[in-house]
Protein backbone atom coordinates (compact mmCIF):
# COMPACT_ATOMS: atom_id res chain seq x y z
CA UNK A 1 0.00 0.00 0.00
CA UNK A 2 2.79 2.44 0.90
CA UNK A 3 4.31 1.68 -2.49
CA UNK A 4 1.37 3.42 -4.13
CA UNK A 5 0.66 6.00 -1.42
CA UNK A 6 4.06 7.72 -1.32
CA UNK A 7 4.21 8.65 -5.04
CA UNK A 8 0.53 9.64 -4.89
CA UNK A 9 1.12 12.02 -1.98
CA UNK A 10 4.21 13.41 -3.74
CA UNK A 11 2.19 13.97 -6.89
CA UNK A 12 -0.60 15.79 -5.07
CA UNK A 13 1.86 17.89 -3.03
CA UNK A 14 3.77 18.91 -6.19
CA UNK A 15 0.53 19.61 -8.06
CA UNK A 16 -0.86 21.84 -5.31
CA UNK A 17 2.39 23.71 -4.72
CA UNK A 18 2.91 24.26 -8.46
CA UNK A 19 -0.53 25.71 -9.09
CA UNK A 20 -0.31 27.91 -5.98
CA UNK A 21 3.17 29.07 -6.98
CA UNK A 22 2.04 29.88 -10.52
CA UNK A 23 -0.83 31.95 -9.17
CA UNK A 24 1.53 33.74 -6.78
CA UNK A 25 3.82 34.44 -9.75
CA UNK A 26 1.11 36.69 -11.20
CA UNK A 27 1.53 38.96 -8.18
CA UNK A 28 5.32 38.69 -8.37
CA UNK A 29 5.35 39.61 -12.04
CA UNK A 30 3.16 42.66 -11.53
CA UNK A 31 5.24 43.89 -8.57
CA UNK A 32 8.55 43.33 -10.33
CA UNK A 33 7.37 44.95 -13.56
CA UNK A 34 6.20 47.93 -11.51
CA UNK A 35 9.56 48.11 -9.73
CA UNK A 36 11.49 48.14 -13.00
CA UNK A 37 9.12 50.67 -14.52
CA UNK A 38 9.34 52.97 -11.49
CA UNK A 39 5.79 52.60 -10.17
CA UNK A 40 4.12 50.75 -7.27
CA UNK A 41 2.08 47.91 -8.77
CA UNK A 42 -0.60 46.15 -6.67
CA UNK A 43 0.20 47.09 -3.04
CA UNK A 44 -3.22 47.64 -1.41
CA UNK A 45 -4.69 44.19 -0.65
CA UNK A 46 -2.97 42.56 2.32
CA UNK A 47 0.75 42.86 3.15
CA UNK A 48 2.66 44.11 0.07
CA UNK A 49 -0.49 43.51 -1.95
CA UNK A 50 0.03 39.75 -1.60
CA UNK A 51 -3.68 39.05 -1.30
CA UNK A 52 -4.28 40.68 -4.69
CA UNK A 53 -4.02 37.21 -6.25
CA UNK A 54 -6.73 35.90 -3.92
CA UNK A 55 -8.96 38.82 -4.83
CA UNK A 56 -8.30 38.25 -8.55
CA UNK A 57 -9.06 34.55 -8.18
CA UNK A 58 -12.36 35.26 -6.41
CA UNK A 59 -13.23 37.71 -9.15
CA UNK A 60 -12.39 35.27 -11.93
CA UNK A 61 -14.49 32.52 -10.30
CA UNK A 62 -17.44 34.88 -9.90
CA UNK A 63 -17.36 35.93 -13.56
CA UNK A 64 -19.75 34.45 -16.07
CA UNK A 65 -18.13 31.52 -17.82
CA UNK A 66 -19.39 32.34 -21.29
CA UNK A 67 -19.11 29.81 -24.10
CA UNK A 68 -19.78 31.63 -27.39
CA UNK A 69 -22.76 30.14 -29.27
CA UNK A 70 -20.77 30.26 -32.54
CA UNK A 71 -17.91 28.16 -31.17
CA UNK A 72 -17.25 24.45 -31.45
CA UNK A 73 -18.30 23.94 -27.84
CA UNK A 74 -16.62 20.72 -26.79
CA UNK A 75 -13.24 21.66 -28.33
CA UNK A 76 -13.63 25.11 -26.85
CA UNK A 77 -13.93 23.53 -23.38
CA UNK A 78 -11.20 20.96 -24.06
CA UNK A 79 -8.49 23.43 -25.17
CA UNK A 80 -7.68 25.10 -21.82
CA UNK A 81 -7.62 21.68 -20.17
CA UNK A 82 -5.05 20.49 -22.73
CA UNK A 83 -2.83 23.49 -21.97
CA UNK A 84 -2.97 22.91 -18.21
CA UNK A 85 -2.53 19.12 -18.45
CA UNK A 86 0.45 19.30 -20.80
CA UNK A 87 2.16 21.92 -18.62
CA UNK A 88 1.61 19.91 -15.43
CA UNK A 89 2.48 16.54 -16.98
CA UNK A 90 5.97 17.74 -17.95
CA UNK A 91 6.77 18.36 -14.28
CA UNK A 92 6.64 14.58 -13.75
CA UNK A 93 10.26 14.23 -14.84
CA UNK A 94 11.71 17.31 -13.09
CA UNK A 95 14.06 16.21 -10.28
CA UNK A 96 13.36 18.67 -7.46
CA UNK A 97 15.69 17.14 -4.84
CA UNK A 98 17.55 13.80 -4.60
CA UNK A 99 14.45 12.30 -2.95
CA UNK A 100 11.57 14.22 -4.49
CA UNK A 101 10.47 13.69 -8.08
CA UNK A 102 7.47 11.94 -9.56
CA UNK A 103 8.99 9.75 -12.26
CA UNK A 104 12.63 8.79 -12.66
CA UNK A 105 12.36 8.15 -16.40
CA UNK A 106 15.35 7.07 -18.47
CA UNK A 107 14.03 9.24 -21.28
CA UNK A 108 13.32 12.28 -19.09
CA UNK A 109 14.36 14.93 -21.62
CA UNK A 110 12.47 13.24 -24.44
CA UNK A 111 9.38 13.00 -22.26
CA UNK A 112 9.57 16.75 -21.63
CA UNK A 113 9.96 17.46 -25.36
CA UNK A 114 7.06 15.15 -26.21
CA UNK A 115 4.70 16.70 -23.67
CA UNK A 116 5.66 20.24 -24.60
CA UNK A 117 4.92 19.42 -28.25
CA UNK A 118 1.40 18.44 -27.12
CA UNK A 119 1.06 21.89 -25.57
CA UNK A 120 0.59 23.39 -29.05
CA UNK A 121 -2.70 21.52 -29.46
CA UNK A 122 -4.29 23.54 -26.69
CA UNK A 123 -3.48 26.78 -28.48
CA UNK A 124 -4.43 25.64 -31.98
CA UNK A 125 -7.68 24.07 -30.80
CA UNK A 126 -8.56 27.18 -28.79
CA UNK A 127 -7.90 29.35 -31.83
CA UNK A 128 -9.84 27.12 -34.18
CA UNK A 129 -12.84 26.33 -31.96
CA UNK A 130 -13.43 29.98 -31.04
CA UNK A 131 -14.52 30.53 -34.65
CA UNK A 132 -13.24 34.11 -34.69
CA UNK A 133 -10.65 35.67 -37.00
CA UNK A 134 -8.39 36.97 -34.25
CA UNK A 135 -8.39 33.67 -32.40
CA UNK A 136 -7.68 31.72 -35.56
CA UNK A 137 -4.78 33.97 -36.55
CA UNK A 138 -3.39 33.66 -33.03
CA UNK A 139 -3.72 29.88 -33.15
CA UNK A 140 -2.02 29.58 -36.55
CA UNK A 141 0.79 31.87 -35.42
CA UNK A 142 1.20 29.86 -32.25
CA UNK A 143 1.43 26.59 -34.19
CA UNK A 144 4.00 27.93 -36.67
CA UNK A 145 6.08 29.53 -33.92
CA UNK A 146 6.11 26.58 -31.55
CA UNK A 147 6.80 24.04 -34.31
CA UNK A 148 9.80 26.04 -35.50
CA UNK A 149 11.24 26.67 -32.06
CA UNK A 150 10.72 23.09 -30.91
CA UNK A 151 13.12 21.85 -33.59
CA UNK A 152 16.16 23.53 -32.10
CA UNK A 153 14.89 23.30 -28.52
CA UNK A 154 15.52 19.57 -28.74
CA UNK A 155 18.84 20.04 -30.54
CA UNK A 156 20.09 22.57 -27.97
CA UNK A 157 19.76 19.94 -25.23
CA UNK A 158 21.75 17.29 -27.11
CA UNK A 159 25.05 18.84 -25.97
CA UNK A 160 24.00 18.34 -22.34
CA UNK A 161 22.90 14.78 -23.12
CA UNK A 162 26.28 14.04 -24.72
CA UNK A 163 28.20 15.44 -21.74
CA UNK A 164 26.10 13.54 -19.20
CA UNK A 165 25.75 10.42 -21.35
CA UNK A 166 22.09 10.06 -20.39
CA UNK A 167 18.57 11.36 -21.09
CA UNK A 168 17.72 10.91 -17.40
CA UNK A 169 17.42 14.30 -15.67
CA UNK A 170 18.60 12.84 -12.35
CA UNK A 171 21.79 11.49 -13.98
CA UNK A 172 22.32 14.84 -15.69
CA UNK A 173 22.16 16.69 -12.37
CA UNK A 174 24.55 14.16 -10.80
CA UNK A 175 26.95 14.57 -13.73
CA UNK A 176 27.28 18.28 -12.88
CA UNK A 177 28.97 17.66 -9.52
CA UNK A 178 32.33 18.90 -10.77
CA UNK A 179 31.23 21.59 -13.22
CA UNK A 180 27.80 22.99 -13.96
CA UNK A 181 26.95 22.51 -17.62
CA UNK A 182 26.35 26.19 -18.36
CA UNK A 183 30.14 26.59 -18.67
CA UNK A 184 30.82 24.00 -21.42
CA UNK A 185 27.32 24.38 -22.89
CA UNK A 186 26.88 28.16 -22.91
CA UNK A 187 25.57 28.24 -26.51
CA UNK A 188 23.18 25.41 -25.62
CA UNK A 189 21.91 27.38 -22.63
CA UNK A 190 21.31 30.55 -24.66
CA UNK A 191 19.52 28.63 -27.42
CA UNK A 192 17.40 26.67 -24.95
CA UNK A 193 16.45 29.84 -23.10
CA UNK A 194 15.32 31.54 -26.33
CA UNK A 195 13.40 28.42 -27.36
CA UNK A 196 11.84 28.34 -23.90
CA UNK A 197 10.70 31.94 -24.29
CA UNK A 198 9.06 31.04 -27.60
CA UNK A 199 7.58 27.85 -26.17
CA UNK A 200 5.86 29.73 -23.34
CA UNK A 201 5.05 32.55 -25.80
CA UNK A 202 6.26 35.29 -23.54
CA UNK A 203 7.40 38.70 -24.75
CA UNK A 204 9.32 39.08 -27.09
CA UNK A 205 7.73 35.92 -28.56
CA UNK A 206 4.10 36.56 -27.62
CA UNK A 207 2.86 37.04 -31.18
CA UNK A 208 0.07 34.43 -30.80
CA UNK A 209 -1.59 36.85 -28.36
CA UNK A 210 -0.24 40.18 -29.60
CA UNK A 211 -2.82 42.55 -28.13
CA UNK A 212 -2.15 45.48 -30.43
CA UNK A 213 -3.09 43.51 -33.54
CA UNK A 214 -5.02 40.37 -32.48
CA UNK A 215 -7.08 41.57 -29.44
CA UNK A 216 -5.86 38.68 -27.27
CA UNK A 217 -4.98 36.10 -29.91
CA UNK A 218 -6.10 32.54 -29.38
CA UNK A 219 -7.87 33.23 -26.07
CA UNK A 220 -9.88 36.26 -27.24
CA UNK A 221 -13.22 34.51 -26.74
CA UNK A 222 -12.40 32.96 -23.38
CA UNK A 223 -13.71 34.30 -20.09
CA UNK A 224 -13.89 33.32 -16.45
CA UNK A 225 -11.87 30.38 -15.22
CA UNK A 226 -11.23 29.04 -18.74
CA UNK A 227 -9.21 32.18 -19.42
CA UNK A 228 -7.70 31.70 -15.96
CA UNK A 229 -6.46 28.27 -17.01
CA UNK A 230 -4.63 29.72 -20.01
CA UNK A 231 -3.18 32.35 -17.72
CA UNK A 232 -2.01 29.90 -15.05
CA UNK A 233 -0.83 27.55 -17.81
CA UNK A 234 1.48 30.28 -19.10
CA UNK A 235 3.03 30.73 -15.66
CA UNK A 236 3.33 26.96 -15.25
CA UNK A 237 5.27 26.99 -18.52
CA UNK A 238 7.62 29.66 -17.18
CA UNK A 239 8.23 27.68 -13.99
CA UNK A 240 8.79 24.52 -16.05
CA UNK A 241 11.36 26.09 -18.37
CA UNK A 242 13.12 27.73 -15.40
CA UNK A 243 13.18 24.45 -13.48
CA UNK A 244 14.62 22.67 -16.53
CA UNK A 245 17.30 25.32 -17.07
CA UNK A 246 18.19 24.84 -13.40
CA UNK A 247 18.34 21.05 -13.69
CA UNK A 248 20.11 20.90 -17.06
CA UNK A 249 22.59 23.76 -16.89
CA UNK A 250 22.90 24.97 -13.29
CA UNK A 251 23.34 21.81 -11.29
CA UNK A 252 19.74 21.34 -10.11
CA UNK A 253 19.70 20.84 -6.37
CA UNK A 254 23.52 20.94 -6.06
CA UNK A 255 25.01 23.70 -3.94
CA UNK A 256 26.88 24.24 -0.68
CA UNK A 257 25.46 24.64 2.89
CA UNK A 258 21.75 25.05 2.14
CA UNK A 259 19.42 22.03 1.73
CA UNK A 260 18.89 20.81 -1.87
CA UNK A 261 15.26 21.92 -2.10
CA UNK A 262 16.21 25.50 -1.20
CA UNK A 263 18.89 25.57 -3.88
CA UNK A 264 16.50 24.25 -6.49
CA UNK A 265 13.78 26.77 -5.66
CA UNK A 266 16.25 29.67 -5.49
CA UNK A 267 17.79 28.90 -8.88
CA UNK A 268 14.38 28.36 -10.46
CA UNK A 269 13.04 31.64 -9.09
CA UNK A 270 16.10 33.44 -10.46
CA UNK A 271 15.25 32.33 -13.99
CA UNK A 272 11.57 33.13 -13.48
CA UNK A 273 12.67 36.68 -12.63
CA UNK A 274 14.81 36.76 -15.76
CA UNK A 275 11.69 35.88 -17.79
CA UNK A 276 9.86 38.80 -16.15
CA UNK A 277 12.78 41.20 -16.67
CA UNK A 278 12.79 40.36 -20.37
CA UNK A 279 9.11 41.23 -20.55
CA UNK A 280 9.88 44.60 -19.00
CA UNK A 281 12.82 45.25 -21.30
CA UNK A 282 12.19 43.92 -24.81
CA UNK A 283 9.89 44.97 -27.66
CA UNK A 284 7.99 42.55 -29.87
CA UNK A 285 9.40 41.69 -33.34
CA UNK A 286 7.40 41.17 -36.52
CA UNK A 287 6.25 37.62 -37.19
CA UNK A 288 8.48 37.26 -40.26
CA UNK A 289 11.50 38.34 -38.27
CA UNK A 290 10.62 35.81 -35.59
CA UNK A 291 10.42 32.94 -38.07
CA UNK A 292 13.58 33.78 -39.99
CA UNK A 293 15.44 34.23 -36.68
CA UNK A 294 14.42 30.71 -35.78
CA UNK A 295 15.27 28.92 -39.03
CA UNK A 296 18.19 30.99 -40.31
CA UNK A 297 20.09 31.70 -37.11
CA UNK A 298 19.08 29.50 -34.18
CA UNK A 299 18.79 26.19 -36.06
CA UNK A 300 22.29 26.38 -37.67
CA UNK A 301 23.75 27.56 -34.35
CA UNK A 302 22.27 24.64 -32.44
CA UNK A 303 23.51 22.19 -35.11
CA UNK A 304 27.00 23.71 -34.83
CA UNK A 305 26.82 23.36 -31.06
CA UNK A 306 26.01 19.65 -31.37
CA UNK A 307 28.83 19.20 -33.90
CA UNK A 308 31.41 21.04 -31.78
CA UNK A 309 30.44 19.23 -28.56
CA UNK A 310 30.65 15.89 -30.33
CA UNK A 311 34.04 16.70 -31.85
CA UNK A 312 35.48 17.81 -28.50
CA UNK A 313 34.15 14.73 -26.72
CA UNK A 314 35.61 12.48 -29.44
CA UNK A 315 39.00 14.21 -29.29
CA UNK A 316 39.12 13.90 -25.49
CA UNK A 317 38.17 10.23 -25.29
Amino acid sequence: MTGVMVPLVTMIAILVSLTTMSAALIWMERRLLALWQDRYGPNRVGPFGLLQVVADMLKIFAKEDWVPPFSDKAVFVLAPAVVMTAALLAFAVVPFTPGVSIADLDIGILFFLAVSSLNIYGIVLAGWSSNSKYSLLGGVRGAAQMLSYEVFMGLSLMGVVMLAGSFNLRDIVEAQRGLWFFVPQLPGLVIFFIAGLAETHRIPFDLPEAENELVAGYHTEYSGMKFGMFFVGEYLGIVLISALITALFFGGWLGPFLPPAVWFVMKTLFFVMLFILLRAALPRPRFGQLMSFSWKLMLPLSLLNVLATGAILLARS
Partner: protein, 172 residues
Protein backbone atom coordinates in the same frame (compact mmCIF):
# COMPACT_ATOMS: atom_id res chain seq x y z
CA UNK B 1 1.89 -4.82 -17.37
CA UNK B 2 -0.28 -6.71 -19.80
CA UNK B 3 -3.41 -4.70 -18.98
CA UNK B 4 -1.56 -1.49 -19.90
CA UNK B 5 -0.77 -2.93 -23.31
CA UNK B 6 -4.31 -4.14 -24.01
CA UNK B 7 -6.07 -0.98 -22.87
CA UNK B 8 -3.85 1.26 -25.00
CA UNK B 9 -4.16 -1.14 -27.94
CA UNK B 10 -7.96 -1.01 -27.74
CA UNK B 11 -7.87 2.78 -27.44
CA UNK B 12 -5.60 2.94 -30.50
CA UNK B 13 -7.94 0.78 -32.57
CA UNK B 14 -11.08 2.69 -31.58
CA UNK B 15 -9.45 6.09 -32.11
CA UNK B 16 -8.11 5.07 -35.50
CA UNK B 17 -11.56 3.84 -36.55
CA UNK B 18 -13.05 7.16 -35.52
CA UNK B 19 -10.28 9.01 -37.38
CA UNK B 20 -11.12 7.11 -40.56
CA UNK B 21 -14.91 7.36 -40.27
CA UNK B 22 -15.05 10.95 -38.97
CA UNK B 23 -16.80 13.49 -41.22
CA UNK B 24 -15.27 16.62 -39.76
CA UNK B 25 -11.59 16.92 -40.69
CA UNK B 26 -10.45 18.55 -37.47
CA UNK B 27 -12.38 16.09 -35.31
CA UNK B 28 -10.88 13.19 -37.26
CA UNK B 29 -7.39 14.65 -36.82
CA UNK B 30 -7.94 14.86 -33.06
CA UNK B 31 -8.77 11.15 -33.04
CA UNK B 32 -5.62 10.50 -35.07
CA UNK B 33 -3.59 12.30 -32.40
CA UNK B 34 -5.18 10.14 -29.68
CA UNK B 35 -4.42 7.06 -31.78
CA UNK B 36 -0.73 8.04 -32.03
CA UNK B 37 -0.55 8.68 -28.29
CA UNK B 38 -2.06 5.23 -27.72
CA UNK B 39 0.53 3.70 -30.06
CA UNK B 40 3.24 5.44 -28.03
CA UNK B 41 1.89 3.81 -24.87
CA UNK B 42 1.86 0.44 -26.63
CA UNK B 43 5.58 0.89 -27.32
CA UNK B 44 6.12 2.00 -23.72
CA UNK B 45 4.36 -1.04 -22.32
CA UNK B 46 6.46 -3.29 -24.56
CA UNK B 47 9.64 -1.90 -22.99
CA UNK B 48 10.70 0.63 -25.61
CA UNK B 49 10.29 4.06 -23.94
CA UNK B 50 12.69 5.72 -26.40
CA UNK B 51 10.55 4.78 -29.39
CA UNK B 52 7.44 5.82 -27.42
CA UNK B 53 8.88 9.30 -26.88
CA UNK B 54 9.90 9.60 -30.53
CA UNK B 55 6.41 8.51 -31.60
CA UNK B 56 4.92 11.43 -29.67
CA UNK B 57 7.57 14.00 -30.63
CA UNK B 58 7.71 13.20 -34.35
CA UNK B 59 4.30 11.78 -35.29
CA UNK B 60 2.02 13.72 -32.93
CA UNK B 61 4.11 16.81 -33.65
CA UNK B 62 3.84 16.36 -37.43
CA UNK B 63 0.05 16.10 -37.24
CA UNK B 64 0.16 19.77 -36.27
CA UNK B 65 1.10 20.60 -39.86
CA UNK B 66 -2.00 18.75 -41.07
CA UNK B 67 -4.05 20.74 -38.57
CA UNK B 68 -2.73 23.97 -40.02
CA UNK B 69 -3.55 22.86 -43.56
CA UNK B 70 -7.08 21.86 -42.57
CA UNK B 71 -7.64 25.08 -40.69
CA UNK B 72 -6.44 27.10 -43.65
CA UNK B 73 -8.60 25.17 -46.12
CA UNK B 74 -11.79 25.07 -44.04
CA UNK B 75 -11.68 28.79 -43.49
CA UNK B 76 -11.26 29.61 -47.14
CA UNK B 77 -14.82 30.86 -47.63
CA UNK B 78 -18.24 31.06 -45.99
CA UNK B 79 -19.38 28.03 -48.00
CA UNK B 80 -16.78 25.76 -46.45
CA UNK B 81 -17.59 27.15 -43.03
CA UNK B 82 -21.31 26.48 -43.47
CA UNK B 83 -20.61 22.97 -44.69
CA UNK B 84 -18.39 22.36 -41.71
CA UNK B 85 -20.99 23.74 -39.31
CA UNK B 86 -23.60 21.33 -40.59
CA UNK B 87 -21.26 18.49 -39.61
CA UNK B 88 -20.75 19.84 -36.12
CA UNK B 89 -21.87 17.39 -33.50
CA UNK B 90 -21.01 18.29 -29.91
CA UNK B 91 -21.34 14.68 -28.80
CA UNK B 92 -18.33 13.75 -30.96
CA UNK B 93 -16.14 15.63 -28.53
CA UNK B 94 -16.69 13.50 -25.48
CA UNK B 95 -14.91 10.68 -27.35
CA UNK B 96 -11.32 11.96 -27.73
CA UNK B 97 -11.43 13.55 -24.29
CA UNK B 98 -12.48 10.28 -22.65
CA UNK B 99 -9.91 8.19 -24.53
CA UNK B 100 -7.11 10.62 -23.75
CA UNK B 101 -8.19 10.53 -20.11
CA UNK B 102 -7.80 6.74 -20.09
CA UNK B 103 -4.24 7.17 -21.40
CA UNK B 104 -3.36 9.72 -18.72
CA UNK B 105 -4.77 7.44 -16.04
CA UNK B 106 -2.60 4.60 -17.36
CA UNK B 107 0.48 6.81 -17.39
CA UNK B 108 -0.15 7.92 -13.81
CA UNK B 109 -0.68 4.30 -12.78
CA UNK B 110 2.63 3.24 -14.33
CA UNK B 111 4.42 6.16 -12.66
CA UNK B 112 3.03 5.20 -9.28
CA UNK B 113 4.92 1.93 -9.34
CA UNK B 114 2.63 -0.29 -11.39
CA UNK B 115 4.81 -0.02 -14.49
CA UNK B 116 6.87 -2.69 -16.13
CA UNK B 117 6.99 -4.43 -19.44
CA UNK B 118 3.95 -6.04 -20.99
CA UNK B 119 5.57 -9.39 -21.55
CA UNK B 120 7.80 -11.25 -19.19
CA UNK B 121 10.38 -12.04 -21.87
CA UNK B 122 10.42 -8.57 -23.47
CA UNK B 123 13.64 -6.82 -22.59
CA UNK B 124 14.02 -3.16 -21.80
CA UNK B 125 15.38 -1.22 -24.79
CA UNK B 126 17.25 1.97 -23.89
CA UNK B 127 18.25 4.79 -26.26
CA UNK B 128 21.80 3.44 -26.51
CA UNK B 129 20.58 0.09 -27.81
CA UNK B 130 18.49 1.84 -30.46
CA UNK B 131 21.48 3.96 -31.52
CA UNK B 132 23.81 0.95 -31.71
CA UNK B 133 21.30 -0.96 -33.85
CA UNK B 134 20.66 2.00 -36.15
CA UNK B 135 24.32 2.83 -36.71
CA UNK B 136 25.47 -0.80 -36.68
CA UNK B 137 23.60 -3.41 -38.74
CA UNK B 138 21.08 -0.92 -40.19
CA UNK B 139 23.55 1.77 -41.17
CA UNK B 140 22.74 1.50 -44.87
CA UNK B 141 19.04 2.02 -44.09
CA UNK B 142 19.81 5.22 -42.15
CA UNK B 143 21.92 6.52 -45.02
CA UNK B 144 19.23 5.72 -47.60
CA UNK B 145 16.55 7.41 -45.48
CA UNK B 146 18.72 10.51 -45.12
CA UNK B 147 19.25 10.55 -48.91
CA UNK B 148 15.49 10.42 -49.39
CA UNK B 149 14.94 13.24 -46.92
CA UNK B 150 17.62 15.32 -48.63
CA UNK B 151 15.88 14.80 -51.96
CA UNK B 152 12.61 15.92 -50.39
CA UNK B 153 14.31 18.98 -48.89
CA UNK B 154 15.82 19.98 -52.25
CA UNK B 155 12.45 19.51 -53.96
CA UNK B 156 10.66 21.60 -51.32
CA UNK B 157 13.27 24.33 -51.65
CA UNK B 158 12.83 24.34 -55.40
CA UNK B 159 9.05 24.68 -55.14
CA UNK B 160 9.28 27.34 -52.45
CA UNK B 161 11.79 29.41 -54.43
CA UNK B 162 9.53 29.66 -57.46
CA UNK B 163 6.62 30.87 -55.41
CA UNK B 164 8.77 33.47 -53.72
CA UNK B 165 9.89 34.97 -57.02
CA UNK B 166 6.30 35.33 -58.11
CA UNK B 167 4.92 36.98 -54.97
CA UNK B 168 7.92 39.12 -53.88
CA UNK B 169 7.55 38.27 -50.23
CA UNK B 170 9.01 40.58 -47.60
CA UNK B 171 12.68 39.79 -46.96
CA UNK B 172 11.96 38.97 -43.32
Amino acid sequence: MEALFYVSAVVAVIATLRAVTGKNAVHALLYLVVSLLAAALVFYSLGAPFIAALEVIIYAGAIMVLFIFVVMMLNLGPGAERQEKSLLDPRAWAGPALLAFALVAELLYSFSGGGGTAEANAQYINPKAVALTLFGPYFIGVELASLLLLAGLVAAWHLGRREKEATHDSPG
